[in-house]
């Protein structure tokens, strides 16, 4: 098989090489090679090619943008996400305009000013005024965009009131979500306490642990309209918690606490209606390469009404069932002690 392929390839190359020699010889005989006329013909055909490419390309661009918009993410299911989507669309509008103008100019010039023996080039080495204009205009536009973006950025990362503390914990290749319970405090944990029965390494000696509840299945629920403050922790390598439908993402870094807050605004049931897909589910995906099965590391996310959420929470594992910690030697628990930098 391999031999056959090799032989075919070799034969193909030889045949091509012979053909090339013949083409070259014949063009040398007719004297057309490398003459100015030949280049002018190339200029005409390729210049025309640029125009065709531009028209078809921009046409396809518009067609695909329309055709694929329905496959993109549905409306944002979080409060801040709505603002982000709006900002994204403003960006697209501006980018689209610049894209069309510059690409059209590029391909049109390449066609229009091709050498067809009908004109000379215009010696035009400099124009400070023009250059100043196209330095300043992009600066102003970009600054405006960036400032709007930074306002939202600061909003997303500002401290919110009445938020519920939730931990999202990742390891190769699954997720656990821990809810802080009535005291709204995530109790201490320590990676040296991790066992099969205590996957989060909860420290039973901390009273704040007692009322914590964590998931055992591959599904997490969150209550509608509740501001959630997620604390992210990783057990082994870096992971990234990506909630595409909520426009939220944060890395999980071993040895560090990271945070992201959002407020879900659309329940799973409602979203099924909006998307017209009765199997629709929100999802939490791992979005940082974390090992061989990285692509399988996901968790179903369900947005419930607060009442449904309470009911569901009862079915999950209570941290109070975790046995007291075995004696551990000199530990300095950094998993919950350090700040993110």
């Amino acid at each position: 098989m391999t031999l056959l392929i090799t032989i075919t390839i070799l034969l193909g190359i030889i045949v091509l090489a012979r053909l090339m020699t013949i083409v070259q010889l014949s063009s040398e005989l007719t004297g057309s090679s490398d003459s100015q006329e030949e280049q002018v013909r190339h200029n005409n055909s390729n210049g025309f090619g640029f125009i065709v490419f531009m028209v078809l390309g921009l046409g396809l661009f518009i067609y695909m943008t329309i055709d694929y918009s329905k496959h993109l993410l549905p409306v944002s299911a979080s409060e801040h996400g709505v603002g982000l989507d709006k900002l994204l669309n403003i960006n697209w509008a501006i980018i689209g305009v610049v894209f069309f103008i510059t690409q059209i100019a590029l391909f049109y010039f390449s066609y229009k000013y091709r050498d067809n023996k009908k004109h000379e080039a215009y010696f035009y080495p400099e124009n400070y005024k023009l250059e100043l204009i196209w330095t300043i205009v992009p600066t102003i536009v970009l600054t405006t965009l960036i400032i709007t973006g930074l306002k939202q950025w600061n909003g997303i990362f500002s401290e919110k009131e009445n938020s519920m503390n939730v931990q999202v914990y990742g390891y190769q290749f699954a997720w656990i979500t821990r809810y802080s319970g009535p005291d709204n405090i995530l109790g201490k944990s320590n990676y040296k306490l991790i066992t099969d029965d205590n996957p989060l390494g909860l420290d039973a000696s901390d009273p704040a642990v007692k009322d914590d509840i964590y998931t055992t299945g591959n599904e997490m629920h969150i209550p509608l309209g509740q501001e959630l403050k997620f604390q992210f922790n990783a057990r082994d390598v870096i992971h990234s918690a990506y909630f595409p439908h909520f426009r939220a993402q944060m890395n999980l870094v071993p040895g560090m606490n990271t945070f992201f807050s959002f407020k879900p605004t659309i329940t799973t049931a409602e979203m099924r209606k909006i998307t017209g897909n009765d199997k629709f589910d929100y999802v939490l995906l791992c979005n940082k390469i974390c090992g061989v099965a990285h692509y399988t590391m996901k968790m179903k996310v369900v947005v419930d009404t607060p009442a449904d959420f309470k009911a569901w929470l009862k079915s999950q594992k209570k941290a109070s069932e975790v046995k007291a910690a075995p004696p551990v030697s000199t530990l300095n628990s950094t998993a919950n002690g350090s700040n993110s930098i």
């Binding site: 993109l72 996400g81 100019a105 000379e120 010696f123 057990r235 082994d236 993402q249 944060m250």
Partner: protein, 606 residues
Amino acid sequence: MEVKQTADVAVEHHDDHTHEHDHHETFLTKYIFSQDHKTIAKQYLITAIIMAFFGMYMSLIFRLQLGFPETKFAFLESLIGKWGKGGRLDPGFYMALVTIHGTIMVFFVLTGGLSGTFSNLLIPLQVGARDMASGFLNMLSFWFFFLSCAVMTYSVYIETGPAAGGWTVYPPLSALPQAMPGSGLGMTLWLVSMVFFIIQSLLGGINYICTVINLRTKGMSMTRLPLTVWAFFITAILGVLTFPVLFAAALLLVFDRSFGTSFYLSDIFIGGVALPQSGGSPVLYEHLFWFLGHPEVYIIILPAFGLTSEVLSTMGRKPIFGYKAMVGSLMAIAFLSCIVWGHHMFVTGMNPFLGAVFTFTTLLVAIPSAVKVFNYLATLWRAKIQLTPAMCFAIGLVSLFISGGLTGIILGDSALDINVHDTYFVVAHFHVVMGASAIFGMLAGVYHWFPRMFGRMMNKTLGYVHFWLTLIAVYGVFFPMHFIGLGGVPRRYYSNSAYEGFDVFLNINTLITVFAFLAAIAQVIFLFNFVYSIFKGKKAPQNPWHSNTLEWTSPAGPGIHGNWNGPIPTVYRWPYDYSKPGADDDYIPQTVPYSQTKNSNLPGEE
């Protein structure tokens, strides 16, 4: 270096003759351990082309998986052995292929290959020097490059597979062999290879800088340097400043991997064991890596810009528009690129305030990039364009750089980056803006300077076929990827079957794979043309493109050691006097004094 200083003007064969007697060159010193910059340039180019095909071959294999996730390909098993058992690509090896593909393309093809080839070829020839400042270091730099490529290639074939943690090799994944098979020996070899690579980059860079500063010929002031040389010069400075930081990052990683330190490790429980390391931070690695990583993308694109500027101006028969602004924007980009690395880290847990600062600096670096594009457009305006294959590729670069640069505005905005970070949107963005566009620049360079390198012309018709197929395929591959990314599909996923919502993208993934194969076919056509033309191409005239720069005044063909027979030519003007009003011809080489061009001199040019 010994140089013959005879007054008579070059007669090529005569000189070749005397040179052989002077040096007693053997095959080994002439072609293998050569210290001649022109030979070293060819060595770089050919090594880079081989590596590029290797990297492309890998992308085809993993594109098969993404495009046809259910199909069994019987030939996979004969191609990649146990990694393709039953005709299905192994998920771990998928990661490995992606990682090595990225590493090869970024470092070996577009850093080593691009700068190595064209800085070596063009700096001495265009500044008017006999050779590099140090021929010996130059030779050493190539052989470190070769060693680095060899080690990386070898690592693909070891039992446990090559490094597989992504080309950025973030710890702890890359630091712990327990975390994935590729983090064992494969990762060690990756690090060894990178150390050789950094050495070659520093040796090369120092040489380019010295040559540009010290060995310019008489009259070649800095403001008369072609933009190619400016671009190579600034790229070299950037590399010398930032590669040592990658070295530091790699060194600390080696310590963490082999000597039990905890620079990057803390609080890790893996394989049923709690590791003793504490106090380290993976984010530190990310900072160090991206301190090189972002300037790296400019180390890739600036030389491509340099080549493009030269080709656009020469084949447009018109001076480059805004020479000073072009040089200024090169400098601004180089400086600013060193302070934007944090835009790769908006969601790593870095302080949000820092995120805001990096958003701002990223905005700043976009401005000189925009200026370059507008100046290119102004150069094309009212030009007399010769659409040679090189010119087509240069125009293609501008188109791709616009497309990719614009999506950068979204990624550079910290708030918008939250939802597209690490998705296919990023894959699409960086392939267009630095992958494809730098490859286009490199190809423009190959087509344009092929006559200078090999003394023969490449076949034009095949060149056009290559160009059009490549342009269509590149957009066909990378344009649809934006949508996949906006749909929320993460990168580095072996398969998108984990989430039902992604099923709609299957068709589009198949289409992308078909275009990827089309791109590959086009590159085979190029390879054929390249090899064929080296031996059988039409003999090139002395100055085939009627160019102004010095490299076309030195003896045609493979050239001679020392570049010019007689004294080195003196330079009297800038390199872009094309279509100057009043001139006899539509170009005035740099070697022509103003006294001979009375009719075309502008005020102040005496």
